[in-house]
Every structure is written in structure tokens, then in C-alpha cells.
């Protein structure tokens, strides 16, 4: 059963006919060739597939493409290029925020989404006072908020350092 989907991905509009079962993740990877977004579990359990949907970080594997009709998606390829890195990408390189690099696109997209959540004053499980409208970007907050992105290489301390660095800017 096919469905029509129109999506803007990294600023480019795509109108596609896809199997209703197609997830955003498989659409990006297999239909659009945007393989920067990774599949680590296909079940919302790892964060490797994290992309920004209308600016909000989500797991691409947990979204049917059909239900995103009309939405704007930004993937790792849309954040920056080798010639013009996004500051978060540059910070990951500088702090060695990865090893194998497989979780990295997800970590970076997630970090970008997280900073905007912080900016909007959204609380996390470790926010001490929920009534405060502003939340400080401290290590503990970053760790908790990034916990949906597993890194089996365990580059965690470097990832946090990179995010804190990029987040200052």
C-alpha cells in the first residue's frame, strides 16, 4: 500500500510515493540516499537515527514517513558540510567526541536540538528547581539530556565537552 508524502529535507522538497510502512529513517537512507542518519536499533532504543523535525529532535526510526507529510527535516548532511562545518560538528572533531563515528550524526543532531530545548527553558529530570524558567547548561544537564544517544565506543566525556564548548557560542 503506497502513500504520497511531501517532505522538505535539508531545504529540498521531495514528493514521493512510498510503502505506507516506510519509516523516515529508511526513507532518508534508501530513497533519498542520505545515509548520514544511522540505524542502530530501529526501535527508539539508541538515538543513532536522531534528526530534527521542524527543529525538534526525534528518532527517525520511530516515525512513519507518511505521518510527516509536509514537515521539514534536517539531517546531519543539512547541518554542515566538510567545507563548512556546523559549530557543533567542529566541536566534536576538536574534542574527539567520537571513535567509530556511527552514533555521531545522531549525537550531533541531538545536541543541536538539545541546545534549543535548553534555550527555551525546558526542564530535565536533573533540573533542581522546576519553577525556574531558565536552566543552566551544566555538565549534569547535558548528560541527562543526551542520554537518548547511546555511544558504544563510550566517547561520552568528550561528547559532553564538545557540546559545552559549542553551546557557549
Amino acid at each position: 500500500m503506497t502513500v504520497d508524502v511531501g517532505l522538505t529535507v535539508n531545504g529540498v522538497r521531495h514528493d514521493l510515493k512510498v510503502d505506507s510502512r516506510t519509516t523516515l529513517l529508511d526513507l532518508l537512507r534508501e530513497h533519498l540516499g542520505l545515509t548520514g542518519t544511522k540505524k542502530g536499533c530501529d526501535h527508539g532504543q539508541c538515538g543513532a537515527c536522531t534528526v530534527l523535525v521542524d527543529g525538534v529532535r526525534k528518532n527517525a526510526c520511530m516515525n512513519l514517513a507518511a505521518s510527516l507529510d509536509g514537515r521539514g527535516i534536517v539531517t546531519i548532511e543539512g547541518l554542515g558540510t566538510e567545507q563548512a562545518l556546523h559549530p557543533m560538528q567542529a566541536a566534536f572533531i576538536e574534542h574527539d567526541g567520537f571513535q567509530c563515528g556511527y552514533c555521531t550524526p545522531g549525537q550531533i543532531c541531538s545536541a543541536v536540538g538539545m541546545l534549543s530545548e535548553l534555550k527555551r527553558g525546558l526542564p530535565s529530570a536533573v533540573t533542581a528547581d522546576l519553577r525556574e524558567a531558565a536552566v543552566d547548561m551544566v555538565e549534569a544537564e547535558v548528560r541527562e539530556r543526551m542520554s537518548g544517544n547511546i555511544c558504544r565506543c563510550a566517547a561520552y566525556p568528550n561528547i559532553v565537552a564538545a557540546i559545552l564548548d559549542a553551546g557557549k557560542a
Binding site: D19, R21, T22, D26, R29, E30, T35, G36, T37, K38, K39, G40, C41, D42, H43, Q45, C46, A48, T75, I76, E77, L79, G80, T81, E82, L85, Q89, F92, I93, E94, D96, F98, Q99, C100, G101, Y102, C103, T104, P105, I108, V126, E139, A140, V142, R143, E144, M146, S147, N149, I150, C151, R152, C153, A154, A155, Y156, P157, N158, I159, V160
Partner: protein, 706 residues
């Protein structure tokens, strides 16, 4: 020392590709008009397939092929002997089921969605047999393996019983470690494509050369007709040493369909189709005099092995070289079970062995009323106590002392359960680390063009270890060119042979080859040739030094842990490791690997546990929600210090293995910190809240909390 780029913490040269999504992993490879294969796995642990009913699957939309043992092409038979990673890996080659989750069919369709749906329509019926799935319950079937990677399965020196009886204090304790699953973030995947009789397989493998042999021999085609490409690998940790059904089945299906075929394992399948770390039961006996000197050490290991394919978890091997003691004993036994195949996982043997022995040392320290750092210092040997050869280099004492100073070990509460921080009891733990140093023959090809641009080629891989970067550093250093002028090409079987990434031997084996090849080029330059059109291919191999010297890398871990007094939750608060791994090629990437290894140790202490349903032989919690690995929130400040060093016996470059050292001992430091925090000693890993809580609720402990 002159200014050199070697050792500098330079950024990874493949970093830009990785942070922009440009790096292509096996499953990212694309081909014209591909078909997608999905593997169907067995749902019994032991038995025979009666029938594979493929009617429904075959009729499903988009399905182009359904393969089972009833129609799979003939392949080379499985071999028990030989290089376990280069052997034939025949798939769907019989009705026998060896373990739960073994591939029994492949469904190929035009799309991934179609293939996934149709895979569920394959109906397999079995003649189920009673299987053996419980390690402890089947210990009577334990046997002595012929050998370990490190030599004989058993060793003894002096008279253990006598030495044990001499001890003023003794420890006799049994530690158990669970099944663990590598779970690299990248799913194992292969894209196979035929061009006439030539096959290209993009696959996720640590060992390109072994994969090359394995695929060619399984399909019984000439080596030169197969190209294996593994340019980027999303983590391996030993889980991508062998190739798996995805590679062979993709190749078989692609040949039959005359069309590229991509096969990717699901995360759930990764637990059974790929290998795992065997569960172990380890008995450790230590005895020491009042002076804290060990009089006897025994380390006896029993581990699971797949009935279909032996693997020995050599957990006591390094114990033979670690501490001085006149009377010694080590033993390895394996218990054949109808479980998936076990194999190397990050620091095989050592990682779980030190979870046991380094906790036992802690227990002994308390009995002796001696600081656990001091206990280790007092048992520092002057030579390898069993091999009776000198150490190539060994800076364990320095690791311990430096770590203790930097960590603030003097603030450790000497009595468990006395340091409080709100709801938390806080404790410090220490453990030493030892990891065997290995080296294998490797060949590198280096070319220089007229612009002095250098290209290094090897079939070596970069599984996140930093291979691309350090080889560029080695070449830039040797030839005196800027690093930007070096291109490193890895992960292709058409390049010269190397051992690949495994056992932390990659850099120690390959860097000398790169260096030597560069030196050849340099010689030619000095002789007035070039710079254009220069090429050198050099093989570098280990010499006698590995027999004449005891070769290991070392470290010391210091951990601070909090234990919640009402729930038993144990959480890491901070951790420091100090390491002696010879010369470091890149202090940034090496540190990352060490820290990563330490966090693996934390996971092995607190989280990781692939649970077997003893009725079926099934890994029950086979996904990343059920199988816990540490997440960001579990990892506060973790840091690693690398001692300056040079081990010329390991290789001319002076380096030793780094990638596996960090995990060794790390988990024991956490376990020891838990004891120091709350007085609860858990010998059954992982140390989850249920176990700690049970300890906290013991009457003796309850009194202490008041």
C-alpha cells in the same frame, strides 16, 4: 627529542567525514536496483528442522527469493580447525539447529519493508531436542581445552596447597560474570554485488584479510575474484572479527538473482547471529602473610563454549604474570552448551578475569587491614613469575602511585559505610590492569607522487581506534611531510595484507610496516630518485622478543561510587585511570580509547547482562532497551592519564596495545568502590540494585547504616 607529529593530539583525519555523515559504513553503500535480504532465525535452541514452508513467503509482494537449507547452494563445509576468522562460514547448510537464533532462512525482496514482512511468513517446524543452556548446571560436562591463545590451559608452580595453608589471611571466593554482547552501534550488514564471476562485498568487518578468505573459501571461488571493502566500521570490539550470515547469504543471493543484495541484521539478531562474550565462573584463592606478601595464587576459570564451535575465555592467563607469589595455579575449563558461538570481546580473557582477581585482591587487602594500593605494591614481581623472563617494560607501580596521588586516594574512607553524602554512601575503589601485548606480521604499501603527496595502503581497518590518523602521523613523521600531504587508504582486500583490528595488535603490528615502507621511500629519495613514482611495500613481523620478554600493557583504575541507601542503586561519581602502554602515537585518540574502555568496565560492573532463558537457550533481553549499556547519565568525569613510555621489545616504534587496556580491571575498581561505600560485596556481576539491596538488608549491614 626533535619536534615530531608522532604522539601529538591531532584531530582525526577522518573526523570531517564522520561528523558530516559522509563516512560510508557497509550498510550505507548503495547499488543500482538492489534487493534486500532479511534473515529468519531458529526458534529452538537444539533440534532438527522438519520442514521449511516457504509458500506464503514466496507469494508475498515483492519477494524474489526465499532460501533455506532445502535449496541453498552448496558451500564449503564448516571447519573446526584453522584460523577461526578466516574459515569457511557455510550458511543454511543443514537441518541441524545448534542454537536459538541461528539463521535458518533468507528472504529477499525488492524493498526492505517487503522482505521484513515476508520473513515472518516463513514457517519452520522443528524436531526439538533437550538442550543444555545453563553453565553452572552443566559444569560436570566441563573439559580441558587443548590450548589458549596464550599457551597451555593450565599452569602451576610450587605447591599451591602448601602455600595457601601458609597464609596468615586467605581469600577463597567464586566470582561469576554473565554473557555480554558486543553490540557495536553499527548493525552488521553486507552489500554483495557480482560482476561476472567477480564478487564485491561491502561488509562490516575488523579483519579484511580474514573476511576475504572466509568468503572466498565458503563460496569456493578464487581469492582474486573477491574484493572485500570495509572502509568505515561502526565499532567492532571483537564482534566483527568473523563474518556472519549476512555476508555469505548476500553473496549467494546476489549471484542467484544477478542483482546486488543487501542484508542487515536486526539489533535483536545481533545477540545470537553474531558472537558474544562467554559467561564465566571463576574461583580465586589468595593467601598472604601478615607482611602482605602473597604466598599463593590460584585462578580457576570455567566458561561457556558453543557446542558447535569451541572458544576458551582465557580469563586466568594474565594472572600468570601479574603478581609475585611462589605457589601458583591457573586452570581453564569449558562447558559445551547449545548456545550461540562465543568469541573474543574487548580484552577477551583479561576483561572478565580481572573482574574476579582484582576484586579478590581487594578482599584480601581488607582481611590484612592493608591499603589495597599498598597490597599491590608489595607484590610487584621482578620478573615474570611463571615464564621466568624479564618484563619488556612494566610500570604498574608508577600507575598505582601516580593514580593514587592524582585521584586523592588518601581521602578514601578506610572503614566501609562511613562516608555519607545525603542519601548516598560514598566509596573509593582501586584495581590494577594488565593486558597481553600482541603483534602480528603486517605489510604496508607507501607511494609518493611528484608533489610529495604520500599515500599509505593497507587492508587494515579503523574501527574507531584512529588507525587512519596514526598511520598518517607515522608516515608524515618518517618522511618529514605535513600530515595534510598524507592519504591513508584502508579496509580493502586489494591492499597489502595486515592482521586487521583485533587484540589491540593493529597499531603495534601495522605502524612499523608503515614506518619501514616510508624509510624505503626515504632511501630512494636520498639516493636521488623521485619524488614522483616512488613506491615501497614492506612486511614487518614480530621477532624473538615476544618469547624472550613478558609483554603486557598495564594500568591502575581509581573509582568513586555512590550507593543509594534505600534502593541499592550504585552510580559512578568519578573515575581515573593511569596507563602504561608504551609509546602513544596520538594522545587524543589513545585517550579516547582508554576512557571508552574504562566505561566498558563500568558497564560490565553495573549493567551488562545478556540473560539466558534456561528453558529455551534464548537471550531474553535481546535489544538495547533490555540489554543495558551505559548512557551519558551513567558517565560523569572519567579521565585517563598515559605515562610517557617506549617499549622497544614490542616493536621498533615502542608502542603497545591501547584499545583493550582501559576495560581491564576497570569493573573491579567499581565493585571495590561499592564495597568501600556500603560494605556489600557482590561477586556476581553485574552489580545491579537488587543485589546491592539484598546486601544492604543483611542485619549486620542494617546496623551499620544507623
Amino acid at each position: 627529542m626533535p619536534d615530531t607529529i608522532l604522539g601529538q593530539p591531532i584531530d582525526r583525519i577522518d573526523g570531517k567525514a564522520k561528523v558530516t555523515g559522509a563516512a560510508r559504513y557497509a550498510g550505507d553503500r548503495r547499488a543500482e536496483h538492489p534487493a534486500f535480504g532479511v534473515i529468519v532465525t531458529s526458534t529452538v535452541g537444539r533440534g532438527t528442522i522438519n520442514k521449511v514452508d516457504i509458500k506464503e513467503a514466496q507469494a508475498a509482494p515483492g519477494v524474489v527469493l526465499v532460501m533455506s537449507h532445502e535449496n541453498a547452494p552448496a558451500q564449503a563445509p564448516f571447519k573446526h580447525a584453522g584460523d577461526r576468522h578466516a574459515r569457511p562460514k557455510p550458511q543454511l547448510n543443514g537441518a541441524r539447529v545448534h542454537y536459538y537464533g541461528e539463521p535458518v532462512a533468507l528472504v529477499v525482496a525488492d524493498t526492505f519493508e517487503q522482505a521484513t514482512a515476508a520473513a515472518r511468513l516463513v514457517r519452520v517446524s522443528y524436531q526439538t531436542e533437550m538442550g543444555a543452556y545453563d553453565l553452572a548446571g552443566n559444569r560436570r560436562f566441563a573439559y580441558t581445552p587443548a590450548e589458549l591463545v596464550q599457551g597451555k590451559p593450565d599452569s602451576s608452580l610450587g605447591d599451591f596447597d602448601k602455600g595457601f595453608a601458609q597464609g596468615a589471611q586467605t581469600v577463597d571466593a567464586t566470582y561469576t560474570t554473565p554473557y555480554q554482547s558486543h553490540n557495536p552501534m553499527e548493525l552488521v550488514a553486507s552489500l554483495a554485488q557480482w560482476d561476472g564471476d567477480r564478487l564485491t562485498v561491502h561488509c562490516a568487518t575488523q579483519l579484511v584479510d580474514a573476511a576475504h578468505h572466509s568468503i572466498a573459501s565458503t563460496l569456493r571461488i578464487p581469492l582474486e575474484n573477491v574484493e572485500v571493502i570495509s572502509e568505515f566500521i561502526g565499532g567492532g570490539f571483537g564482534g566483527k572479527l568473523p563474518i556472519y550470515g549476512d555476508a555469505i547469504l548476500a553473496a549467494l543471493a546476489a549471484r542467484q538473482l544477478k542483482r546486488p543484495v543487501k542484508v542487515t541484521l536486526t539489533r535483536q539478531q545481533m545477540f545470537s547471529v553474531t558472537t558474544h562474550r562467554a559467561a564465566t565462573i571463576q574461583r580465586v584463592r589468595l593467601a598472604a602473610g601478615t607482611d602482605g606478601k602473597l604466598t599463593a595464587i590460584a585462578h580457576e576459570v570455567m566458561s561457556q563454549s558453543a557446542r558447535m564451535d569451541e572458544f576458551v575465555e582465557s580469563a586466568a592467563a594474565s594472572t600468570r604474570s601479574m603478581y609475585a607469589a611462589p605457589n601458583r595455579l591457573t586452570r581453564h575449563r569449558v562447558v559445551p552448551l547449545d548456545m550461540p558461538v562465543s568469541d573474543s570481546m574487548r580484552a577477551p580473557g583479561d576483561a572478565v578475569g580481572q573482574l574476579a582477581i582484582e576484586q579478590a585482591m581487594d578482599e584480601l587487602a581488607y582481611k590484612l587491614d592493608l591499603d589495597p594500593v599498598e597490597l599491590r605494591l608489595r607484590n610487584e614481581p621482578t620478573e615474570d613469575p611463571e615464564k621466568h623472563v624479564p618484563y619488556s617494560t612494566r610500570k604498574l607501580v608508577e600507575c598505582l602511585k601516580r593514580g593514587a596521588a592524582e585521584f586523592g586516594w588518601d581521602k578514601r574512607p578506610s572503614v566501609p559505610g562511613t562516608l555519607k553524602d545525603g542519601q548516598w554512601l560514598v566509596g573509593f575503589g582501586v584495581a590494577a590492569a594488565i593486558r597481553g601485548n600482541y603483534r602480528r606480521p603486517a605489510t604496508a604499501r607507501v607511494r609518493m607522487d611528484e608533489n610529495r603527496h604520500v599515500t599509505v595502503e593497507m587492508d587494515m581497518t579503523d574501527i574507531g581506534t584512529g588507525s587512519y590518523t596514526i598511520f598518517a602521523q607515522v608516515a608524515a613523521d618518517a618522511l618529514g611531510v605535513p600530515i595534510g600531504q598524507v592519504t591513508v587508504k584502508l579496509g580493502d582486500s586489494s591492499y597489502p595484507q595486515t592482521p586487521g583490528s583485533g587484540g589491540s595488535f593493529g597499531a603495534a603490528s601495522c605502524a612499523p610496516a608503515v614506518h619501514d615502507a616510508c624509510m624505503e621511500i626515504k632511501k630512494k629519495l636520498d639516493a636521488g630518485q623521485g619524488p614522483g613514482n616512488l613506491q615501497a611495500e614492506v612486511k614487518s613481523a614480530p621477532g624473538e622478543e615476544f618469547k624472550k620478554f613478558s609483554q603486557y600493557s598495564y594500568g591502575a583504575h581509581f573509582a568513586e561510587v555512590g550507593v543509594d541507601t534505600s534502593t541499592g542503586e550504585a552510580r559512578l561519581r568519578r573515575m581515573l585511570g593511569v596507563f602504561d602502554a608504551g609509546r602513544i602515537y596520538n594522545s587524543k585518540t589513545a585517550r579516547s580509547q582508554l576512557v571508552g574502555g574504562m566505561i566498558w568496565g563500568v558497564g560490565s560492573a553495573l549493567h551488562e547482562n545478556a540473560v539466558v532463558d534456561q528453558r529455551y537457550g534464548l537471550f531474553v533481553n535481546h535489544d538495547l532497551a533490555g540489554y543495558h549499556v551505559p548512557v551519558h547519565a551513567d558517565v560523569p568525569a572519567v579521565d585517563a592519564i598515559m605515562l610517557a613510555g617506549f617499549d622497544g621489545k614490542s616493536n621498533e616504534m615502542g608502542s603497545k596495545g591501547v584499545g583493550e587496556l582501559g576495560i581491564c580491571g576497570a569493573g573491579a575498581a567499581v565493585a571495590n568502590a561499592i564495597y568501600n561505600a556500603c560494605g556489600v560485596r557482590i561477586r556476581d556481576y553485574p552489580i545491579t540494585p537488587d543485589k546491592v539491596l539484598r546486601g544492604l538488608m543483611r542485619p549486620a549491614n542494617l546496623a551499620q547504616q544507623r
